[in-house]
Amino acid sequence: MATYLVSMLNGLAMGSLLFAIALGLSLVFGMMDVLNLAHGAVYLVGAYVAVALVADGGGLAVFVLAVLAAAAAGAVLGGGLAALTRAIPHHLDQALLTLGVALTVAELLSVAFGNEVHSIAAPAAVAGSVTVAGETYPVYRLLVIGFGMVLAVAVYVLVERSQLGSVIRATVADRPMVSALGINTGRVLVGVFGAGAALAAVAGVLAGPILGAQPGLDERVLLLALVVVVIGGLGSVRGALLGALVIGQVQAVGAALVPEYASFLIFAAMALVLLLRPAGLLPAAGTAVRV
């Protein structure tokens, strides 16, 4: 039972990170129909920011600095991607453009940091472990779970309860109508694109002590985020949260029980959801029609 608990906690930590990554992907897709294939590369930028700043376990202040630096880098990248994709009319061409950016950024990172696997130490202050139900568990992962909870609540309040959030949700549902009401949807799009990319980059730093940084990680993260978005429903915040929690659990418990087939389980979960509910578990209003 205690080993299950550890797996479930690992799954929660993974789910927290996946939520932070998938949120931007989902909202950008819901708003602009842009599949941002560079999202994994943005995550990897964050991971390498952590490598550059806190690789050998600096203090908590340096770690916070790394988070802020990654957020800034992610926001800049996201803003640039938004500007580039809005200059192109066709959705496929937009996806291809982000694919080109993804290849370029990933390759630039491997030029700068080499091809070896980098591991990142958790900040010294939270590097220890505590006893949870008789099993030792790293404090850092508990903090990641806490971050996920705070993020979920903050995003819920922002998107579902605030005025800005209602503009965002309305833009997902019917962009021309919001535009006709006199709201600059272009600014909303760039803002959400930038904020989503910043969150992905922050997740890259936070995931550093768990997943490390290496070439190819961007693709794995992009795949997981895509599966989360597909399972949860496109353009939906609650869907992204539910999808992230499901995939986090499937991955962690699957890795503990049947390590050989863990990756297959994720695909099976996605296939099952698509079979029963093709629009995802909690699709955003107005997007179900398009799927």
Binding site: F29, D33, L35, L37, A87, I88, H90, H91, L92, D93, A95, L96, L97, L99, G100, V101, A102, L103, T104, V105, A106, E107, L108, S110, V111, G216, E219, R220, L222, L223, L226, V227, V229, V230, L234, P259, E260, Y261, A262, S263, F264, I266, F267, M270, A271, L274, L275, P278, R290, V291
Partner: protein, 355 residues
């Protein structure tokens, strides 16, 4: 790779060459293809010339360039399958590398455990690609446009992960120890030139088959789906079945490409079906011009040469150049090389990919 047109052009007015591929335009494309166009011999001559050059290549080139050309041909078959979905049917895909990999692993397993006969390997890989596409495709073809694109990416990456972790396939170490191929009871084909000729023959046959499909009534149905699916449905076509069919067909073609790849490399690793391969195949289609069949083959050659041969002189960072090319092509020539040729011949028609 334009050689296929020489073989497939049994009826002269049915084989007008590349231009018809790039000019499907709305509703009148079919009529123009069949009757309204004056018959031209030039494309046939170009195709025959290209075929002759391809066949003669091993006689003048050294073993290394011949090996490179073999890899390009195998990759071009994968690119054809991507083009069949992306260009002809308007279903952009990043998942074909998965079926390419299924074909490559099947061919390698058949080679190691059953027979070194290359024809048997190609047939087994073709069937395996078909089955894999049939099993996974029904999830994907329910969606359209960008959602389809996303699902194929998820399928492709999932298959990649399976190959990367399944110990029966050598997991991340890959599958080595495949014996050299034999042909119809011949001794093992060790010389690069013989392997090249076998791969060339299969690739030309696949090109001819895909060309025939693209020009058949079924191919016209697919183009109709690309241009206006609701109208095709209203006309009574079963568009869902047609899309599922072309997905399975593309899986089989990609499987053949994988077998050819394995026949040359005699080693398969998870990297052969990864995201990068899928992205490069799509890049080849985009560079060459989606919907044309000869353009993407040229694109395949360009992409593979940049990745494998120019990469060394760029400090091993060929993908950086490819990423920049990708961005530049999307901005500057969204209809690819074939689009440039098509635009010169038919200034008013444009191939659009709906999404």
């Amino acid at each position: 790779m334009t050689a296929g047109q020489a073989r497939s052009g049994t009826e002269r007015h049915e084989a007008p060459g590349p231009a018809s591929d790039t000019a499907p335009g709305g509703g009148d494309g079919g009529r123009r293809d069949l009757a309204d166009r004056p018959v031209s011999h030039a494309p046939l001559l170009v195709a025959a010339g290209a075929a002759a050059l391809l066949v003669a290549a091993p006689l003048v080139l050294g073993p290394y360039p011949v090996t490179t050309a073999t890899r390009i041909l195998a990759f071009a078959v994968l690119v054809l399958s991507v083009d069949l979905l992306t260009g002809v049917t308007g279903l952009p895909t990043l998942g074909q590398a998965a079926y390419f990999g299924v074909g490559a692993y099947t061919a390698a397993l058949v080679g190691i455990h059953v027979t070194a006969d290359a024809a048997a390997q190609v047939i087994a890989a073709c069937v395996a690609g078909l089955i894999a596409a049939a099993v996974t495709g029904w999830i994907a073809v329910r969606a359209r446009g960008i959602v389809f694109f996303m699902l194929t990416l998820a399928i492709g990456e999932s298959v990649h992960q399976v190959a990367d972790t399944w110990s029966a396939l050598g997991a991340s170490n890959g599958l080595s120890g495949m014996p050299p191929i034999r042909l119809f009871g011949s001794p093992p084909l060790l010389a690069a030139g013989f392997v090249y000729w076998w791969v060339l023959a299969v690739a030309i046959a696949v090109f001819a088959a895909v060309t025939l499909v693209a020009r058949s009534p079924y191919g016209r149905t697919l183009r109709g789906i690309r241009d206006n699916e609701p109208r095709m449905r209203a006309l009574g076509y079963r568009t869902a079945a047609a899309r599922y069919g072309v997905f399975c067909l593309a899986g089989a073609v990609a499987g053949v490409g994988g077998a050819l790849w394995a026949a040359q490399a005699r080693f398969v690793s998870p990297g052969d079906l990864g995201f990068e391969v899928a992205a490069l195949a799509l890049l080849s289609v985009v560079i060459g011009g989606a919907g044309s069949l000869w353009g993407p083959c040229l694109g395949a050659a360009l992409v593979l040469i940049v990745r494998d041969n120019l990469s060394a002189s760029l400090g091993g960072h060929g993908p950086l150049l490819l990423g920049l090319v990708f961005i530049a092509v999307v901005f500057l020539m969204p209809r690819g090389v074939a689009g440039l040729v098509g635009a010169r011949r038919h200034p008013r028609t444009r191939t659009e990919i709906p999404s």
